[in-house]
């Protein structure tokens, strides 16, 4: 401010109008311009600092201790939790399950979402009705959904196996097998998220200029050609966004596998951890075995993995949908 004060008089001399020294009001309005934007965005950053950043850093701190819930003075053990974690077969098993469920859900989900969006952007009767329709599964309660699906996939009295038997197939013990349980959980995830992602993609599709499609039509391009050469490349930023959000969600999957377990309230992820995900293992470690230090280490490793996979996704999606420059 002092600098401004010094310069201001010179400016006045140079200036045409001879105005008096900058008044308080004048100065206030200048500060207003400089400082206000920060004040307007501050609430988010303050809240994020309290409920986001602080827990993140505190978790890192806790992960350096052997900390059992209720301990009065936990012992500092450095990186031992992480050492133990990298040798923990249950953790690797959980990570494999997570990635497997993530791939089984995200890949078909995004493909279906884009196709669904393409269908919805066509001229339909009652377009709004259809669009609301695909969002309905997302609006339903996740827990209710989990309970209903767990019932549908019941090995003995489940509707799915009932249908399979009606058409002459053998019933599947969905909870027992590794692949079958992952598939069932992926179906649950897709049921909820496909419509949601389809709507986001649809919004981006609607924003593509009509002229491009008209020009392509005149050039004699068919619907498929237009979809692959115009629509997809122009959807790139949206697809990156959707991929990254579903990656973050997919790697944190928790509710579906927890409710899918036949044993109520269990965090085992099946009789032999065949569908225990990383977050489920994290929860079990923290709130069933009360090993908060070890659980914090799991949380941080999961965080790093999500960041890495999101980065890889970002570059891959960019590559796949890149518009070739000639």
């Amino acid at each position: 401010m002092t600098v401004v004060d010094k310069i201001a008089p010179d400016e006045e001399k140079a200036g045409v109008r001879t105005s008096p020294r900058p008044t308080l009001r004048h100065r206030l309005s200048r500060w207003d311009v400089k400082v206000s934007p920060y004040l307007y965005i501050a609430p988010f950053f303050v809240v994020f600092g309290i409920v986001g950043l602080f827990p993140l850093l505190y978790t890192a701190y806790v992960s350096l201790f052997s900390w059992e819930a209720g301990d009065d003075d936990p012992a500092f053990i450095g990186l031992d939790n992480f050492k133990e974690l990298f040798a923990d077969t249950q953790f690797w098993n959980a990570l494999e399950n997570t990635v497997s469920i993530f791939l089984l859900s995200s890949v078909p989900q995004l493909i279906i979402a884009v196709l669904l969006a393409a269908l919805l952007s066509a001229r339909l009767r009652g377009a709004t009705g259809w669009r609301v329709g695909v969002l309905l599964p997302y609006a339903a309660s996740l827990v209710a959904l989990g309970i209903i699906f767990a019932n549908l996939f019941g090995p003995k009295y489940g509707l799915v196996n009932g249908l399979l038997q009606t058409i002459g197939l053998d019933p599947v013990d969905w909870q027992a097998g590794r692949f079958s349980s992952h598939a069932a959980i992926a179906i649950m995830v897709n049921w909820r998220w496909t419509g949601y992602n389809a709507l986001i993609v649809l919004a981006a599709m609607q924003a593509i200029p009509k002229e491009l499609h008209e020009a392509a039509l005149i050039d004699g391009a068919g619907a498929a050609r237009r979809f692959f050469s115009i629509t997809l490349p122009l959807l790139k930023p949206t697809l990156i966004f959707v991929t990254i959000t579903s990656t973050i969600g997919g790697l944190q999957i928790f509710t579906e596998p927890k409710l899918f377990d036949a044993m109520p309230g269990s965090n085992n992820g099946g009789s032999s951890n065949q569908f225990q995900t990383v977050t489920l293992y994290l929860y079990q470690t923290a709130f069933e075995n009360y090993e908060l230090g070890y659980a914090s280490a799991i949380a941080w490793v999961l965080f790093v993995i999500i960041v890495l996979i999101a980065l890889v996704n970002f570059f891959l999606t960019g590559r796949l949908t890149a518009v070739k420059k000639k």
Partner: protein, 433 residues
């Protein structure tokens, strides 16, 4: 949190202005309302599954107009106790009167400093001789505090489907079936017979239910008196494992995980003919089998291996409570013989109080759903067959829920008995390390 503090400050302010009190230092969190006999004291009570207290709570409120009770009921024991330990660690959020199941009691006794010593703050009538000796002693910490008043016990009997045994051409009268349920060997032999005669129908609901009962009967369970795991050397557990997994291999299990949705449906569908039946299971069976199956279930005063105890709980008063004295009074009243008899009538929770066990009301109690069986007398008889309950060391409940039950479920889903046993050992090691 802040609103609570503001509320306290406000309450303090009001009491100070009303009574013209001088500011009193050093009184941390002691509710000022206690100084006013007409102020409402709000108590919370947390229970899981069925304690049978629904009608007792309004009764207590009628007797004590200054008390208001909020009852928090949870369906499942497992998640309830996770929540309990978490809140114990957090230092807030527990109910004034908090129920603890005996399988989880050892984990709580470890943290005895976080609970009130009930003989110190509770009323005089809640003296040790109110309860069965072993029941009272089990709630003692290593330094001699008593942190819980016993509510119920779970003496074991056998429940079975009369109509299904009859259809299989087997004895079905409560007296005539006793030989079938004399020992575990005779029980599984009868199971073989049943499976053969019915062309492959299941004899029991799930292996884990029987295995838990078998392990509970042993002199030493998963954890020894020295708080060390015994699985590696405990031959009794290994034998029980072999017997149960053999029965699974022979098709005796309906493979329905206890308390799962499928298990609930299984009762309605008549998926299994017999069921390990602690006293509190009667209410569960009635609820899930529904009125259409009334009279088909029966219970008999016999249990393989003599007798046993599965479950039963305590009411504790955590030090978090703002009204420990009132909470202890409520807990003492709820666990008095008269009230436990009422709870028994409501939900079949079997009383642990000496007087209640001799009560004519209990001895004459019948259950219409179970064909008018004299269940009071029957379970009192079964309770006498329990020598003393097994010592439950820290981690015992977790081994049952996260090691042995899942391992048996894995065997039912197709793993070999040996693979299952290895899985049990590994999981138990992880829990007790």
């Amino acid at each position: 949190m802040r609103s609570i503090r503001n509320g306290l400050v406000l309450a303090l302010g009001i009491t100070m202005t009303t009574f013209g009190l001088a500011a009193c230092g050093g009184d941390d969190g002691g509710a000022p309302a206690a100084s006013d006999p007409n102020a409402k004291v709000e108590l919370s009570l947390a229970t899981f599954t069925e304690f049978g207290y629904e009608e007792l709570i309004p009764e207590y409120e009628r007797l004590h107009p200054n008390i208001k009770i909020t009852h928090r009921k949870t369906g499942q024991g497992g998640p309830y106790h996770q929540d309990l330990i978490t809140k114990l660690a957090a230092g807030s959020g527990l109910a004034d009167v908090t129920a603890v199941e005996e399988g989880h009691l050892s984990n709580v006794l470890d943290k005895g400093s976080k609970f009130n010593d009930l003989p110190k703050i509770g009323p005089a009538e809640a003296s040790p001789d109110r309860w069965l000796g072993w029941k009272y002693d089990a709630a003692k910490t290593k330094d001699g505090k008593v942190i819980g008043y016993g509510t119920d016990i779970g003496p074991l009997a056998m429940c079975y489907r009369k109509d299904m045994l009859e259809a299989a051409g087997m004895p079905s009268d409560p007296e005539a079936v006793k030989p079938l349920f004399a020992t575990w060997d005779s029980y599984f032999a009868a199971g073989d017979q049943y499976v053969t005669k019915t062309g492959g129908k299941a004899w029991f609901d799930s292996a884990a239910q029987n295995f838990n009962a078998m392990v509970n009967q042993l002199p030493t369970g998963y954890i020894g008196n020295d708080d060390k795991p015994t699985l590696e050397s405990n031959q009794g557990i290994k034998d029980a494992w072999t017997k149960v997994t053999d029965a699974v291999a022979k098709g005796q299990s309906a493979k329905l995980t206890a308390f799962s949705n499928e298990w609930n449906s299984g009762f309605k569908q008549g998926a299994f003919a017999t069921k390990v039946c602690p006293a509190w299971m009667l209410g569960v069976i009635e609820e899930h089998s529904g009125p259409e199956n009334a009279g088909k279930w029966a219970v008999t005063a016999a249990f393989p291996g003599g007798g046993g105890n599965w479950g039963g709980s305590y009411l504790t008063v955590p030090t978090q409570s703002k009204h420990p004295k009132e909470a202890a009074e409520l807990a003492a009243w709820l666990t008095a013989p008269e009230q436990q008899i009422k709870a028994f009538k409501a939900k079949g929770t079997f009383p642990s109080q000496v007087k209640a066990l001799e009560d004519p009301a209990l001895l004459s109690e019948t259950d219409a759903y179970f064909g008018g069986a004299k269940i009071g007398q029957l379970f009192a008889e079964q309770a006498k067959k329990v020598a003393k309950p097994q010592y439950k060391g820290p981690g015992d409940g977790q081994i049952q829920e996260n090691a042995s039950s899942p391992a048996l479920q894995a065997v039912e889903q197709g793993k070999s008995a040996d693979e299952g046993w290895t899985q049990l050992l590994d999981a138990a090691k992880k829990i007790t390390r």
